[in-house]
Symmetry: C2
């Protein structure tokens, strides 16, 4: 078990609250007043989650977008965000990018804290949402026979990252400025048997949903959407790269999604591997492993 997972297990053990599924980078879901709150908190660290020298406006955008993506996977409507900010270089660029993201997604900044520190900067964002349907979709509701769907291509962020890293002319927007699938999430939430966003890689996130649901996903790689610029030789890699923030979800076999999506596989009774691709167990790491 990784150090992070061991810590999460220890944290869960001390606080066995039903909403604490939020600890494994899922959202917390809890009743408040007559409605349901959806909460998530994600961090970004310099040198880990962004490249040294990267425009802080893009970092701010991504911090907002990745947290809102967690809300999208619950079909939640964003209510606001709280920011934890380490002061540093290019704070004005950060504020500019934060403002653009908040405006783009119609979300107010409600509060937060700022600190000074030496060393790599650390940013945290708490996003607060309002559930739009009940029950709120979880990762654990997929049943054998359900079909597995994906709202859009995987691999664009990988290409964007490489373009940015190498100073190439390729389009890096998919990596720098992802779009949370908020509308899609709200449309899908009432009918999805399980849903999550693809943040760490299609295969590893599919494996997590399969394990939470007690099924195995059989994925047909020919059905997975990729960006046109991706060479066919890199499709396997693209299925293991994260940061695309598309929604991965299951629907009953006879249902079709109310929003654009690609059927990429089917849920089967659990096998030893939570994911099989084109009938075989995928080799190696499935995606980004938190350490």
């Amino acid at each position: 078990m990784s150090k992070e997972l061991a810590l999460i297990e220890a944290l869960r053990a001390l606080a066995p609250h039903p909403a604490a599924r939020g600890l494994a980078d899922d959202c917390a879901v809890l009743p408040f007043g007559g409605e349901t709150l959806v909460l998530t908190h994600d961090m970004m660290v310099e040198g880990v989650h962004w490249l040294p020298g990267q425009d802080m406006a893009d970092v701010a955008w991504k911090l907002v977008a990745t947290n809102l993506s967690d809300l999208a996977a619950k079909g939640a409507e964003p209510v606001g965000v709280l920011l934890g900010f380490t002061l540093g270089e290019e704070d004005a660029r950060f504020v500019a990018g934060l403002g653009e993201a908040l405006q783009a997604f119609g979300v107010p900044l409600l509060g937060g804290d700022t600190v000074s520190a030496n060393g790599p900067r650390s940013l945290g964002l708490t996003a607060l949402g309002r559930a739009t349907c009940s029950p709120v979709p979880s990762r654990s509701g997929s049943r054998p026979g359900d079909r597995l769907w994906l709202t859009g291509p995987v691999g664009a962020a990988m290409l964007g990252f490489e373009a940015l890293r190498d100073g190439m002319t390729g389009d890096s927007a998919a990596f720098r400025r992802p779009t949370p699938r908020l509308e899609e999430g709200r449309a899908l939430a009432p009918m999805a048997t399980a849903m999550m966003d693809v943040s760490d890689g299609l295969l590893i996130d599919a494996a997590r949903m399969a394990q939470a649901s007690g099924v195995t996903f059989a994925i047909d790689s020919e059905a997975v959407p990729f960006p046109p610029a991706l060479p066919a030789s890199r499709r396997d890699e693209a299925m293991r790269w994260g940061d695309d923030y598309e929604l991965l979800f299951t629907l009953p076999a006879d249902a079709n999604p109310p929003t654009a999506a690609h059927c990429i596989g089917v849920a089967r009774a659990a096998m030893p591997s939570p994911v099989i691709v084109d009938g075989a167990v995928p080799h190696g790491n499935l995606g980004y492993m938190h350490d």
Copy 2:
């Protein structure tokens, strides 16, 4: 204007939401589901907010306690917390202290995120509360003639810090394990004209409340409670040291608090200095200045 305040001003400008008073380390307050949510997010950084080598169990306790103290100042009942955690040494001690604090204050851990990073560790906590009265007390409601009250002594955390730093036998618990005044806050909230917790120092926090309210507080230093161990020569210093997390509040002149508290002064029409002590403008820094 400090770099931090400049940033906060910039953030406020881009998100003029009524709840965004949370940006100046106050809480965000917003309606949700027929009730009122109270939200705060505070960070702690190694080497800034805790001593290198300090027991991580105490750091965890303080992270929880300081955030709950912000809720206490709103009279809010804690609902849960989300943790942003940088992995490092002594994580097991952190988890132990976190568990003790959550149990002591009856608050569940709802979710969060963990990251790996080099350099000084950064921790963030979002605390979520439910308002118990309406309106929720702010910092801006003090009126000339109101009396200024404090729930308990200031200076104990300063002595505790020194004992811990110097490896002395003195009691460091007041610095290591502060108690948020949750019960007191709930009792006071319906009647306080303004309220906040004393986190950065009595004088500076009083000045902030005075400025927010458009008054000046005339403080009688003889009426300020101090711990018995504090030498009389250090009382001025104790009024400028933070971390005691007592509640500072105003009541109409004819009202008495329903909980133990000390009347330490009175609100007057605004003068050039937001705080005067024993009739004079205090010299030098009033307390901990965020930079």
